[in-house]
Symmetry: C2
Subunit: 472 residues, 2 copies
């Protein structure tokens, strides 16, 4: 399966038309999330690395063009103009791990229009999914209030590829490990996991199962204690652990029932057996709400394992993301459709500690002390630096979380932080809207004559920009 054909067909039909019309002028598309889901106070930027891998490798082969021709029922020669088309544009993006708010671009792609259009679907699929799951996972880390959180989601994610990304963004938000061996191998994470209920059931009784497990695994062991009756399972685990003397790192896992009450009983039983250093891991349908309730109740749970609800972001399994044309051939553009209007022009987000973010046009000067969130990560279709790593992304997130207002960080009923809109962006939006509503859709010359500096900067125009050949 070619990544190039993993696209919505309309990207292809549009690109063909652009090429036919000679419309290879420079376009900028802005990828952002319109509104946050109800229980999110902020987003965590994720998906950029795999998006850049895709753009780096993007090149339409003859085979891809043949596939396009076949589904369009067109002769192969009609698709010939696409063959060899590669991505040679500029990408400005918010690095992974940063806090992002509604309306703030996660990425802006500037390239000749056909290139920038053809990559839309795949970019959205990467950024939307990974940002969705990262923005859920971080809430588990916040709810756990310092207790380790581990990812057990692989069996319920939307296929194995989604499971890989869930493990990766979990690590980005601070998870202590994952059950997913392939992800742990690929990204150097701690791998976590011991036994299922089926393991216990395959033995005559729990104690026999625990002893057999310890025979096979010489290091610290974790015993699953809820297969039949949790107090009995805890007692069996305590008997085996007492004899083992494996030192610190051993644990029991609770996977069903009233996890808080069972954890208290288990803690008392383990302590009474002199096993004060045996940890308690809780799992089974947990997400940030379940973790929060356990933590607030003071339940003696040491480690939280989350799976299904986090790996699928079950309460908000998608974001209202968009990849919108904001400028074409020097002309700011926008969509007016009801409830889906977009702001025109290339943008920048300025972040200042202790103040709301400012969503501005790209050419605006930063407020004093402000940091610009969008960085140039690709020029001429090549990364401007080496691939980012998860530890750096996690460090960025930790920094941003420290400056977010408390209402945005809440587990229940968070209040989303919102950026302020700069005066110049507001004015441009009003002007473009007025122009479009008047039916005067090409007003670039009017913008330039307004007496103020140009509303979008020109200095950083990407190389490879072509003049528009046909402006009917």
């Amino acid at each position: 399966m070619s990544h190039v054909t993993t696209t919505d067909l309309y990207e292809v039909t549009m690109a063909l038309s652009y090429l036919k019309e000679g419309m290879d002028g420079t376009a900028t598309f802005s990828l952002f999330v319109r509104d946050l889901p109800p229980d999110r106070g902020f987003l965590v930027s994720a998906g950029l690395e795999s998006a850049l891998d895709y753009l780096t490798d993007f090149r339409v082969t003859r085979g891809d063009a043949e596939d396009f021709a076949a589904v369009l029922h067109r002769p192969r020669r009609d698709l010939e103009p696409l063959v060899g088309l590669a991505f040679r544009g500029e990408v400005r993006a918010v690095p992974e791990g940063r806090v992002v708010l509604a309306g703030e671009p996660l990425m802006e792609v500037t390239a000749p229009l056909p290139q920038a259009q053809l990559v839309e679907t795949y970019l959205l699929s990467q950024i939307n999914h990974q940002t969705t799951v990262a923005s859920k996972a971080v809430r588990c880390v916040l709810a756990a209030a310092g207790h380790p959180v581990v990812d057990f989601s692989l069996r319920r994610t939307h296929g194995p590829q989604a499971g890989m990304q869930a493990a990766r963004v979990g690590a980005m938000t601070g998870f202590a490990g994952t059950s997913n061996v392939a992800a742990a191998t690929r990204w150097g994470m701690h791998a976590s996991g011991t036994m299922a209920h089926s393991y216990i059931e395959a033995f005559p009784d729990e104690e026999a199962a625990f002893r057999a497990f310890a025979r096979a695994h010489p290091g610290p062991v974790t015993f699953l204690v809820d297969t039949y009756d949790t107090p009995g399972g805890v007692a069996a685990a305590a008997r085996v652990l007492t004899g083992l003397r494996r030192g610190t790192g051993c644990a029991i896992r609770l996977d069903s029932g009233d996890l808080g009450a069972l954890a208290r009983q288990a803690r008392a039983a383990l302590d009474a057996a002199g096993l004060g250093d045996v940890a308690i891991i809780a799992s089974g349908g947990l997400d940030e709400y379940g973790i929060d309730a356990l933590v607030r109740s003071g339940a003696p749970v040491d480690v939280y394992a989350v799976g299904t609800r986090v790996g699928t972001s079950a309460d908000a399994p998608y974001l209202d993301s968009a990849y919108k044309l904001v400028e074409y051939d020097g002309r700011p553009v926008m969509k007016l459709s009801s409830a889906k209007a977009t702001a025109p022009g290339r943008k920048q987000v300025f972040r200042t500690v202790g103040q709301p973010d400012r969503l501005a046009l790209r050419g605006e000067s930063p407020p004093a002390g402000a940091e610009p969130l969008l960085r140039t990560v690709m020029r001429d279709g090549r990364r401007t630096g080496p691939p980012d790593d998860l530890a750096a992304a996690h460090a960025r997130l930790t920094g941003d979380l420290a400056t977010l207002p408390e209402p945005a960080l809440r587990i229940h009923n968070p209040e989303p932080s919102r950026p302020q809109i700069s005066h110049r962006l507001s004015r441009l939006t009003t002007e473009v809207r007025r122009r479009l509503q008047a039916g005067v859709h090409d007003g670039s010359s009017r913008d330039r004559s307004s007496g103020e500096p140009p509303l979008t900067d020109r200095e950083e125009a990407p190389r490879g920009v072509h003049a528009t050949k046909n402006r009917s």
Copy 2:
């Protein structure tokens, strides 16, 4: 990335212990869904084909074993027993496209215990995800009441792999097409799609955009009419379509606003322009509820395009699926944990038209006229027949839907159909539960001496079964 290491670590730690203990007796795991999500009256079986591909290719390489050793911090030699382990078991499964109810196995895997255990995570990831999305997609087809439904979900699914499967299961449930070129190519589907709002915005006005599109695409065209103001967009589309004379197959697409009201206005405008054969496609946040409302209101929508909410099964993005050991070495087993108890023994589902399904033990005789749902699809790790195709799966679904009671088919507040439990399965469940609660976990000899025929059949035991070497 190896498919073998795309697994939860605990499958590996359990398999190592089984091998050390000589526990390679025959195990049967049953993959089923415990309870349906609130707004589902039934499930559509999906994911079997990719699951069988995985099992066919499953073999632990030396590289996989090295990855396992690394994440376990064990010497390579400790993982040596796994090298070369392949799947050589039997799989009985419900073919794709069949209606399945809560508690009914979608698949039963019978193999030497380490093999059957190692494949758990990946099998769940395939069956759970695809059955989840298929069970959502079919409701869109039902709601559309004969109108074509097409898949536009790729940009919002949980990554591209999930998007491929969403397109495939959409076709299985009767979708008329997909926007996903790679999926259309791979599975021979109709590919659908024309233009985005960005396309319109790149031109001076809508009419110029539509004319350019028609220049590039000689066949029937679809124009997106809601970029600025829908009635204006419809008027522009009508002017261009009137001149084009492209025959049937042309359409306009509405993607925002009050789709029902806009469709009525657009229909009237098109008809007044003599364009009665131009179809109306509706998209934008649609799922079965939105489609149902439009259809019931009599809105003149001809084709429904669904995306995000269907491709992610947004209201129920996972199923409560389980892969449970139900028999080991001739001994029926079960789990007793609160709210997660499982029924022991290998099973069969008998379906009779006009009657509830019967969930029974595998050896039971079928009721008169009943059809067994689980078929043997793999023996000795090899498929028993050629890969299934989507058309056959769709035909099976059509047949099953025709026999489902109306309450299960409802869009709003469906009542899930439930299987009856056979007398012998109930009795076995009671006996095993009693035995486990009494602490007598190995009671296989007791089952055999009960005076009735054996509760699970022996005739179809898979080849390659080994005697258990260690029953402590």
